[in-house]
Protein backbone atom coordinates (compact mmCIF):
# COMPACT_ATOMS: atom_id res chain seq x y z
CA UNK A 1 0.00 0.00 0.00
CA UNK A 2 2.71 2.46 1.06
CA UNK A 3 4.54 1.73 -2.19
CA UNK A 4 1.62 3.24 -4.11
CA UNK A 5 1.92 6.45 -2.13
CA UNK A 6 5.59 6.58 -3.13
CA UNK A 7 4.73 6.10 -6.81
CA UNK A 8 2.03 8.76 -6.69
CA UNK A 9 4.34 11.15 -4.82
CA UNK A 10 7.16 10.67 -7.32
CA UNK A 11 4.75 11.12 -10.23
CA UNK A 12 3.55 14.38 -8.67
CA UNK A 13 7.16 15.61 -8.36
CA UNK A 14 7.68 15.18 -12.10
CA UNK A 15 4.27 16.67 -12.94
CA UNK A 16 5.20 19.70 -10.82
CA UNK A 17 8.51 19.90 -12.67
CA UNK A 18 6.77 19.97 -16.07
CA UNK A 19 4.50 22.77 -14.87
CA UNK A 20 7.56 24.60 -13.54
CA UNK A 21 9.45 24.17 -16.83
CA UNK A 22 6.38 25.36 -18.75
CA UNK A 23 6.16 28.43 -16.47
CA UNK A 24 9.82 29.17 -17.19
CA UNK A 25 9.23 29.31 -20.95
CA UNK A 26 5.88 31.06 -20.56
CA UNK A 27 7.58 33.72 -18.45
CA UNK A 28 10.37 34.04 -21.03
CA UNK A 29 7.79 34.70 -23.74
CA UNK A 30 6.12 37.43 -21.65
CA UNK A 31 9.15 38.84 -19.87
CA UNK A 32 9.07 42.16 -21.73
CA UNK A 33 5.44 42.74 -20.76
CA UNK A 34 6.21 41.80 -17.14
CA UNK A 35 9.17 44.21 -16.93
CA UNK A 36 7.11 46.93 -18.63
CA UNK A 37 4.39 46.55 -15.98
CA UNK A 38 6.96 46.97 -13.19
CA UNK A 39 8.39 50.03 -14.96
CA UNK A 40 4.93 51.58 -15.39
CA UNK A 41 4.16 50.88 -11.73
CA UNK A 42 7.25 52.82 -10.67
CA UNK A 43 6.60 55.55 -13.24
CA UNK A 44 3.22 56.22 -11.60
CA UNK A 45 5.09 56.95 -8.36
CA UNK A 46 3.79 53.78 -6.70
CA UNK A 47 5.99 51.67 -4.47
CA UNK A 48 5.90 47.96 -3.73
CA UNK A 49 5.45 46.80 -0.16
CA UNK A 50 8.54 45.16 1.37
CA UNK A 51 8.16 41.51 0.20
CA UNK A 52 6.84 42.48 -3.24
CA UNK A 53 9.70 44.93 -3.67
CA UNK A 54 12.11 42.03 -3.23
CA UNK A 55 10.15 39.84 -5.66
CA UNK A 56 10.09 42.63 -8.26
CA UNK A 57 13.90 42.39 -8.31
CA UNK A 58 14.05 38.62 -8.66
CA UNK A 59 12.95 38.11 -12.27
CA UNK A 60 11.50 34.62 -12.94
CA UNK A 61 12.02 33.48 -9.34
CA UNK A 62 9.95 36.40 -8.02
CA UNK A 63 7.35 36.36 -10.78
CA UNK A 64 4.88 33.99 -9.05
CA UNK A 65 4.37 36.34 -6.11
CA UNK A 66 4.36 39.51 -8.17
CA UNK A 67 1.83 38.13 -10.66
CA UNK A 68 -0.40 37.29 -7.67
CA UNK A 69 0.08 40.88 -6.43
CA UNK A 70 -0.78 42.39 -9.81
CA UNK A 71 -3.85 40.17 -10.24
CA UNK A 72 -5.11 41.25 -6.81
CA UNK A 73 -4.71 44.89 -7.84
CA UNK A 74 -6.52 44.12 -11.11
CA UNK A 75 -9.45 42.69 -9.13
CA UNK A 76 -9.12 45.60 -6.67
CA UNK A 77 -8.58 43.14 -3.82
CA UNK A 78 -5.99 43.57 -1.07
CA UNK A 79 -3.08 41.14 -1.52
CA UNK A 80 -1.51 39.37 1.47
CA UNK A 81 1.24 41.27 3.32
CA UNK A 82 -0.26 44.65 2.44
CA UNK A 83 0.16 46.59 5.64
CA UNK A 84 -0.09 50.17 4.59
CA UNK A 85 -3.13 50.58 2.41
CA UNK A 86 -2.54 53.11 -0.33
CA UNK A 87 -5.81 53.23 -2.30
CA UNK A 88 -3.99 54.63 -5.35
CA UNK A 89 -2.46 51.25 -6.19
CA UNK A 90 -5.89 49.73 -6.91
CA UNK A 91 -6.36 52.16 -9.80
CA UNK A 92 -3.06 51.16 -11.40
CA UNK A 93 -4.61 48.83 -14.00
CA UNK A 94 -7.37 51.30 -14.99
CA UNK A 95 -5.16 52.82 -17.66
CA UNK A 96 -3.00 49.79 -18.58
CA UNK A 97 -3.68 48.12 -21.96
CA UNK A 98 -5.10 44.58 -21.60
CA UNK A 99 -2.43 42.91 -23.73
CA UNK A 100 0.20 43.82 -21.11
CA UNK A 101 -1.49 41.76 -18.40
CA UNK A 102 -3.85 39.22 -20.05
CA UNK A 103 -1.13 36.50 -20.00
CA UNK A 104 -0.95 36.71 -16.20
CA UNK A 105 -4.28 34.90 -15.69
CA UNK A 106 -2.96 31.67 -17.24
CA UNK A 107 0.43 32.12 -15.63
CA UNK A 108 -1.25 32.30 -12.22
CA UNK A 109 -3.47 29.27 -12.88
CA UNK A 110 -0.48 27.15 -13.91
CA UNK A 111 1.44 28.36 -10.84
CA UNK A 112 -1.50 27.16 -8.72
CA UNK A 113 -1.43 23.76 -10.47
CA UNK A 114 2.30 23.51 -9.77
CA UNK A 115 1.70 24.38 -6.12
CA UNK A 116 -1.09 21.80 -5.89
CA UNK A 117 1.26 19.14 -7.30
CA UNK A 118 3.85 20.08 -4.65
CA UNK A 119 1.21 19.92 -1.92
CA UNK A 120 0.17 16.51 -3.26
CA UNK A 121 3.79 15.30 -2.91
CA UNK A 122 3.74 16.14 0.79
CA UNK A 123 0.28 14.66 1.17
CA UNK A 124 1.56 11.37 -0.26
CA UNK A 125 4.56 11.48 2.09
CA UNK A 126 2.18 11.96 4.99
CA UNK A 127 -0.10 9.18 3.74
CA UNK A 128 2.89 6.85 3.44
CA UNK A 129 3.98 7.70 6.98
CA UNK A 130 0.49 7.06 8.36
CA UNK A 131 0.15 3.80 6.39
CA UNK A 132 3.53 2.53 7.59
CA UNK A 133 3.13 3.49 11.21
CA UNK A 134 -0.54 2.91 11.91
CA UNK A 135 -1.89 0.45 9.34
CA UNK A 136 0.98 -1.93 8.61
CA UNK A 137 0.69 -5.44 10.02
Amino acid sequence: MSLWFSYLGLAAVWVAFFFFAFLFFFFGANKKKYNRLIELYHDRGLSFYAPYHFHSLMGFFGSFTLVYYFLCLLKKKAPLFMWNDNKEVYNFFDSIPGDLYSWMHWYYRITLLCMCSCAFVFLMALAKFVAEHFFSP
Binding site: A50, C118, F122
Partner: protein
Protein backbone atom coordinates in the same frame (compact mmCIF):
# COMPACT_ATOMS: atom_id res chain seq x y z
CA UNK B 1 36.04 14.71 -5.98
CA UNK B 2 34.12 14.58 -2.71
CA UNK B 3 34.33 18.36 -2.44
CA UNK B 4 32.33 18.83 -5.63
CA UNK B 5 28.85 18.15 -4.16
CA UNK B 6 29.50 20.64 -1.33
CA UNK B 7 30.70 23.25 -3.82
CA UNK B 8 27.80 22.78 -6.22
CA UNK B 9 25.35 22.86 -3.33
CA UNK B 10 26.78 26.12 -1.96
CA UNK B 11 26.92 27.56 -5.49
CA UNK B 12 23.27 26.93 -6.18
CA UNK B 13 22.20 28.62 -2.92
CA UNK B 14 24.42 31.69 -3.34
CA UNK B 15 23.87 32.37 -7.04
CA UNK B 16 20.20 31.48 -6.93
CA UNK B 17 19.52 34.19 -4.38
CA UNK B 18 21.76 37.02 -5.44
CA UNK B 19 21.53 36.84 -9.23
CA UNK B 20 18.46 38.73 -10.35
CA UNK B 21 18.46 41.27 -7.52
CA UNK B 22 22.08 42.15 -8.35
CA UNK B 23 21.30 42.46 -12.04
CA UNK B 24 18.53 45.00 -11.36
CA UNK B 25 20.84 46.93 -9.06
CA UNK B 26 23.64 47.32 -11.60
CA UNK B 27 21.13 48.03 -14.38
CA UNK B 28 19.74 50.90 -12.28
CA UNK B 29 23.29 52.30 -11.93
CA UNK B 30 23.87 51.91 -15.68
CA UNK B 31 20.57 53.69 -16.49
CA UNK B 32 21.41 56.60 -14.18
CA UNK B 33 24.91 56.93 -15.68
CA UNK B 34 23.38 57.09 -19.16
CA UNK B 35 20.85 59.71 -18.04
CA UNK B 36 23.68 61.86 -16.66
CA UNK B 37 25.52 61.66 -19.99
CA UNK B 38 22.33 62.47 -21.91
CA UNK B 39 21.68 65.55 -19.74
CA UNK B 40 25.20 66.87 -20.52
CA UNK B 41 24.68 66.23 -24.24
CA UNK B 42 21.22 67.89 -24.30
CA UNK B 43 22.49 70.94 -22.47
CA UNK B 44 25.47 71.37 -24.81
CA UNK B 45 23.30 70.75 -27.87
CA UNK B 46 20.69 73.35 -26.91
CA UNK B 47 22.81 76.02 -25.14
CA UNK B 48 26.36 75.43 -26.38
CA UNK B 49 27.59 75.54 -22.76
CA UNK B 50 27.35 73.42 -19.64
CA UNK B 51 25.92 76.27 -17.57
CA UNK B 52 22.24 76.71 -16.76
CA UNK B 53 19.93 76.62 -13.78
CA UNK B 54 17.73 73.84 -15.19
CA UNK B 55 20.78 71.76 -16.17
CA UNK B 56 22.35 72.10 -12.70
CA UNK B 57 19.11 71.02 -11.02
CA UNK B 58 18.72 67.99 -13.30
CA UNK B 59 22.39 67.02 -12.99
CA UNK B 60 22.36 67.32 -9.20
CA UNK B 61 19.22 65.21 -9.00
CA UNK B 62 20.79 62.47 -11.12
CA UNK B 63 24.11 62.61 -9.25
CA UNK B 64 22.36 62.29 -5.91
CA UNK B 65 20.31 59.37 -7.29
CA UNK B 66 23.56 57.72 -8.30
CA UNK B 67 25.16 58.48 -4.96
CA UNK B 68 22.22 56.92 -3.16
CA UNK B 69 22.55 53.79 -5.31
CA UNK B 70 26.30 53.31 -4.89
CA UNK B 71 26.25 54.14 -1.17
CA UNK B 72 23.67 51.53 -0.22
CA UNK B 73 24.68 49.68 2.94
CA UNK B 74 26.44 46.36 2.24
CA UNK B 75 26.69 47.15 -1.48
CA UNK B 76 28.92 50.23 -1.19
CA UNK B 77 32.26 48.45 -1.57
CA UNK B 78 31.01 46.08 -4.29
CA UNK B 79 29.49 48.88 -6.36
CA UNK B 80 32.49 51.20 -6.13
CA UNK B 81 35.02 48.46 -6.90
CA UNK B 82 33.00 46.86 -9.70
CA UNK B 83 32.32 50.09 -11.56
CA UNK B 84 35.74 51.46 -10.52
CA UNK B 85 34.66 54.94 -9.44
CA UNK B 86 37.40 57.25 -8.16
CA UNK B 87 37.42 57.32 -4.35
CA UNK B 88 35.63 60.64 -3.84
CA UNK B 89 32.43 61.34 -1.93
CA UNK B 90 31.42 63.92 -4.55
CA UNK B 91 30.00 61.86 -7.45
CA UNK B 92 30.98 64.53 -9.99
CA UNK B 93 34.63 64.05 -9.02
CA UNK B 94 34.26 60.28 -8.66
CA UNK B 95 33.13 60.15 -12.28
CA UNK B 96 35.82 62.56 -13.50
CA UNK B 97 33.20 64.92 -14.89
CA UNK B 98 35.08 68.12 -15.66
CA UNK B 99 32.81 70.59 -17.47
CA UNK B 100 35.82 72.48 -18.83
CA UNK B 101 37.40 69.44 -20.53
CA UNK B 102 34.02 68.16 -21.80
CA UNK B 103 33.26 71.55 -23.39
CA UNK B 104 36.76 71.66 -24.89
CA UNK B 105 36.39 68.16 -26.34
CA UNK B 106 32.91 68.72 -27.79
CA UNK B 107 33.78 72.17 -29.14
CA UNK B 108 36.80 70.76 -31.03
CA UNK B 109 35.71 67.29 -32.21
CA UNK B 110 31.93 67.60 -31.99
CA UNK B 111 29.37 66.33 -29.53
CA UNK B 112 29.59 62.66 -28.57
CA UNK B 113 30.16 60.52 -25.54
CA UNK B 114 31.74 62.15 -22.48
CA UNK B 115 35.48 61.34 -22.69
CA UNK B 116 36.33 58.33 -20.50
CA UNK B 117 32.75 58.02 -19.30
CA UNK B 118 31.90 54.87 -21.29
CA UNK B 119 34.35 53.04 -18.99
CA UNK B 120 31.97 53.39 -16.01
CA UNK B 121 28.82 52.64 -18.06
CA UNK B 122 30.54 49.57 -19.57
CA UNK B 123 31.57 48.26 -16.14
CA UNK B 124 28.05 48.62 -14.76
CA UNK B 125 26.56 46.92 -17.84
CA UNK B 126 29.05 44.04 -17.64
CA UNK B 127 28.29 43.49 -13.94
CA UNK B 128 24.55 43.48 -14.69
CA UNK B 129 24.95 41.01 -17.56
CA UNK B 130 27.06 38.70 -15.39
CA UNK B 131 24.55 38.73 -12.54
CA UNK B 132 21.57 38.40 -14.86
CA UNK B 133 22.37 34.73 -15.34
CA UNK B 134 23.06 34.22 -11.61
CA UNK B 135 19.73 32.58 -10.77
CA UNK B 136 20.18 30.14 -13.63
CA UNK B 137 23.79 29.45 -12.61
CA UNK B 138 22.31 28.35 -9.27
CA UNK B 139 20.05 25.81 -10.97
CA UNK B 140 23.02 24.78 -13.15
CA UNK B 141 25.13 24.09 -10.04
CA UNK B 142 22.33 21.99 -8.61
CA UNK B 143 22.02 20.03 -11.88
CA UNK B 144 25.81 19.55 -11.97
CA UNK B 145 25.66 18.21 -8.39
CA UNK B 146 22.96 15.68 -9.37
CA UNK B 147 24.89 14.60 -12.48
CA UNK B 148 28.06 14.21 -10.44
CA UNK B 149 26.34 11.72 -8.14
CA UNK B 150 24.96 9.74 -11.11
CA UNK B 151 28.35 9.60 -12.85
CA UNK B 152 29.92 8.51 -9.58
CA UNK B 153 27.53 5.56 -9.20
CA UNK B 154 27.60 4.59 -12.89
CA UNK B 155 31.38 4.50 -13.18
CA UNK B 156 32.55 2.87 -9.97
CA UNK B 157 31.49 -0.74 -10.50
CA UNK B 158 27.88 -0.22 -9.41
CA UNK B 159 26.40 -0.19 -12.92
CA UNK B 160 23.37 -2.22 -11.76
CA UNK B 161 22.33 0.71 -9.57
CA UNK B 162 22.90 3.25 -12.34
CA UNK B 163 19.28 3.66 -13.54
CA UNK B 164 17.87 3.82 -10.03
CA UNK B 165 20.57 6.29 -8.93
CA UNK B 166 19.87 8.53 -11.94
CA UNK B 167 16.12 8.51 -11.24
CA UNK B 168 16.67 9.27 -7.56
CA UNK B 169 19.28 11.96 -8.16
CA UNK B 170 17.32 13.84 -10.84
CA UNK B 171 14.07 13.48 -8.88
CA UNK B 172 15.87 15.10 -5.95
CA UNK B 173 17.16 17.84 -8.26
CA UNK B 174 13.71 18.73 -9.65
CA UNK B 175 12.03 18.47 -6.29
CA UNK B 176 14.63 20.63 -4.50
CA UNK B 177 14.59 23.19 -7.35
CA UNK B 178 10.81 23.61 -7.33
CA UNK B 179 10.42 23.55 -3.57
CA UNK B 180 13.50 25.76 -3.16
CA UNK B 181 11.96 28.37 -5.46
CA UNK B 182 8.61 28.08 -3.68
CA UNK B 183 10.24 28.15 -0.25
CA UNK B 184 12.26 31.22 -1.26
CA UNK B 185 9.13 33.07 -2.35
CA UNK B 186 7.24 32.21 0.83
CA UNK B 187 10.33 32.87 2.99
CA UNK B 188 10.79 36.37 1.56
CA UNK B 189 7.21 37.31 2.42
CA UNK B 190 7.38 35.76 5.88
CA UNK B 191 10.78 37.37 6.54
CA UNK B 192 9.39 40.82 5.73
CA UNK B 193 6.26 40.17 7.79
CA UNK B 194 8.36 39.15 10.80
CA UNK B 195 10.51 42.29 10.48
CA UNK B 196 7.45 44.53 10.25
CA UNK B 197 5.87 42.69 13.18
CA UNK B 198 8.99 43.18 15.29
CA UNK B 199 9.20 46.84 14.27
CA UNK B 200 12.61 46.35 12.63
CA UNK B 201 11.35 47.88 9.40
CA UNK B 202 8.44 50.11 8.61
CA UNK B 203 6.11 49.55 5.67
CA UNK B 204 5.66 50.19 2.82
CA UNK B 205 8.83 49.59 0.76
CA UNK B 206 11.03 49.66 3.88
CA UNK B 207 14.23 50.43 1.91
CA UNK B 208 17.36 48.34 2.30
CA UNK B 209 16.19 47.01 5.69
CA UNK B 210 13.10 45.56 4.05
CA UNK B 211 15.20 44.07 1.28
CA UNK B 212 17.60 42.53 3.81
CA UNK B 213 14.70 40.94 5.74
CA UNK B 214 13.29 39.55 2.48
CA UNK B 215 16.71 38.20 1.43
CA UNK B 216 17.27 36.48 4.78
CA UNK B 217 13.73 35.04 4.68
CA UNK B 218 14.21 33.93 1.08
CA UNK B 219 17.52 32.16 1.76
CA UNK B 220 16.06 30.42 4.82
CA UNK B 221 12.84 29.50 2.98
CA UNK B 222 14.78 28.33 -0.07
CA UNK B 223 17.04 26.12 2.03
CA UNK B 224 14.14 24.62 3.98
CA UNK B 225 12.17 24.00 0.76
CA UNK B 226 15.19 22.57 -1.00
CA UNK B 227 16.08 20.22 1.89
CA UNK B 228 12.45 19.16 2.29
CA UNK B 229 12.36 18.38 -1.43
CA UNK B 230 15.41 16.14 -1.15
CA UNK B 231 14.21 14.46 2.06
CA UNK B 232 10.81 13.62 0.63
CA UNK B 233 12.44 11.87 -2.36
CA UNK B 234 14.72 9.96 0.03
CA UNK B 235 11.63 8.94 1.96
CA UNK B 236 9.78 7.73 -1.15
CA UNK B 237 12.80 5.76 -2.38
CA UNK B 238 14.16 4.47 0.91
CA UNK B 239 13.28 0.81 0.28
Amino acid sequence: MERLPALTNAGDKIFGTSGDAGEKYFSAIEKTLKKIEASYQNQFLTQGTLIGQQFFIERNQLLSQLKELVNKPLLRAIARNTIKFEQYEDMKRALNLSSRSIVHEWATVGIGAIPGYSYYVGNAARAARFLKIGGYIGVGFSFAGATNKVVDVCTTGREDDCGRAAFKSYSKFVSSTILGAGGGAVGASVGSAVCVGLGIITAPAAGMGGLACAVVGSVAGGMIGSSAGESVIDYFLKD
